[in-house]
Symmetry: C2
Subunit: 363 residues, 2 copies
């Protein structure tokens, strides 16, 4: 990961749950061989599987020393608190990791490499702090260039944050690859960057250049791909992050979108989960309305259609999950799948069909 | 301006035209007593009025020395090129200004205070470089808090960049003040900040925090105001900047919007005015469709209505201008005015009526 094969200690102190440790869960799912241990002193002694339902026997340990005993040689900061600061209780662990001569990989909004103490330690021990959210150089302004690529561009969009847009994109890329297509995954957030070893964290880019940064990534990825799957961010009706979502949509100029939703989620998840704000958190509109909103918003710059729904059925029993998939298909009139639980084939098929239509139109 | 009364040399080298020197024109209009000279060696010898139709006899001069002879004591970088770099030909002038012991005020995306040469010069001469686009500290995430303020929040929105959103907001604040209302102007771009001496350049903020930054500004401004007028940015269907527009809309949660448009503009103005891209620049939809798009997008987070249209008739003769205003009123069914040319009274009236309705509903 990021330059060499690693044995990671994934720091998820106090937050190693399915909902709060998005980055840790993503890395456990897609880079399992590089995780030596997860650090969460409040859950030490257990396994990743027991805490988050994935990661098998990867041990959960109390700190850096115990992670080193598991063979770790790098620290990945796997918490993503709202606002993006390093939680206070994590500071000593980052210090310890640097003192041991480990590289530190971070997806926080705050750049650990700019912290005077951490920077000095990294210099002293000749190790690297990778702040993957640091914006790339350059200030590109988008101008619909991604609409002109030969590859079919697909964007995952969502009903909220943390519903499965990245996972859906990765599963789609895999399923399309299985069909013999050259599918490129474009990472737009910190977890996706850890998994794909490249990408841009669009939420940290000055807002004028979000669409331009994505446009560049799509144009580059399209050179060697039949299909470019772009990881979406946020949601159009999210009070905090909607601007990121629209910039990404208009930069990528997708021909097709996959709408991602978590079964049973009725309100936008309040950032930080604060109770007072949960009361006033916006209600998620019906999926049909979301389909229409995304298609209208796309068409302001480049027409696009939602061609399928990825339904995250986490927490539902098998039977309820299958019922939720069927109900959503009836509600929306679209192919629906939980790509993690039941496979992404139905959605991959919808995308391949879309590509066929594109070629027929062009040809 | 920015801490003290100044005599500004406004740097607009090679670009002192109505369309290219937005910042210079804004400062000439709203802070005329602080402008000693405009620097544009390609137009030296003329007056501001002759070049941009405003600014009276303010001289246009060839460089820093000539500006000093006009009494200038500070340099305001009044160019805003796409991408936000300092144009190459302006570098020696910034250096000269610092060498003379002038403060430098800049709204560029690139921060002049981070330039090693300029920073060293500023230290040596004990002067200040004000980079007004530098994001404020903090990483606020918006959560519809601006929807809860007592003041009526109004946002100017647009059919494109550079159609008059800032000017309309300023003229509205003035007209509403004339009606005895406490109207606060919230600046969201570099020119607005120079004029208002405060504000945040939202296009330079990491995209996750655009809505949050605006929310904070609106909540603060609302404390001492009956009406908060927020300067809009970009346009919902602008390929490069739409994300900024939506973040601002969802952060401000306006109850009412004023749609700004330039009469006769049919396409989104291509950034940098490059001919190749002018051909493929998006067509601006009919104003009725824009009204609907802005109202739909607002309603994803907080309902809002477009209550009037500000029509920039720059370049039209008096009679054509009046006809354009009438035609737009017929097309949209809304009050229409060119606030600069014919006054903002019709729009101020629409906003005051809106405030009356709000109170009736609440009361």
């Amino acid at each position: 990961m990021l330059g060499r094969s690693r044995r990671l200690a994934v720091l998820a102190e106090g937050r190693f749950t399915r909902l709060d440790a998005k980055t840790a869960v993503g890395v456990l799912r897609y880079r399992p061989n590089e995780v030596a241990a997860v650090i969460d002193s409040t859950r030490a002694g257990g396994t990743a599987e027991a805490c988050v339902g994935i990661g098998g026997g990867v041990p959960v340990v109390a700190g850096i020393e115990a992670a080193a005993a598991c063979g770790a040689d790098s620290l990945l900061v796997g918490v993503a608190p709202q606002g993006g600061e390093l939680p206070h209780e994590c500071r000593p662990m980052v210090r310890d990791a640097l003192l041991r001569g480990w590289d530190v990989l971070s997806g926080l909004h705050v750049f650990l490499g700019d912290d005077p103490e951490f920077a000095a330690l990294a210099r002293e021990r000749a190790v690297t702090i990778h702040d993957v959210r640091r914006p790339p150089p350059g200030r590109p302004v988008a101008a619909r260039r991604a609409a002109g690529v030969d590859a079919l561009v697909v964007l995952t969009v969502g009903s909220d944050c943390n519903v499965g847009k990245m996972t859906t994109a990765l599963e789609l890329a895999r399923a399309l690859g299985g069909r013999g297509l050259r599918a490129a995954f474009v990472a737009t957030g910190q977890t996706g960057i850890f998994i794909a070893d490249r990408g841009v964290a669009v939420d940290a880019i000055p807002s004028d250049f979000v669409a331009g940064a994505i446009e560049q990534l799509v144009v580059e990825a399209a050179r060697d791909a039949d299909i470019v799957i772009v990881e979406g961010q946020g949601a159009l009706h999210h009070p905090g992050y909607s601007g990121v979502t629209l910039g990404l949509l208009h930069g990528a100029c997708p021909a097709a979108m996959i709408l991602c939703h978590q079964a049973g989620r009725e309100q936008v998840r309040p950032p930080g989960g604060r109770a007072a704000e949960a009361l006033s958190a916006p209600v998620i509109p019906p999926l049909r309305d979301l389909v229409r909103a995304y298609e209208e918003a796309a068409a302001w710059v480049h027409p696009s259609r939602v061609v399928g729904v990825a339904l995250n059925t986490l927490g539902l029993g098998e039977r309820s999950a299958r019922q939720a998939v069927e109900r959503t298909a009836l509600d929306t009139g679209l192919p629906v799948a939980d790509p993690v639980r039941f496979g992404a084939e139905a959605l991959a098929g919808a995308i391949e069909a879309c590509r066929g239509r594109d070629r027929a139109t062009l040809g």
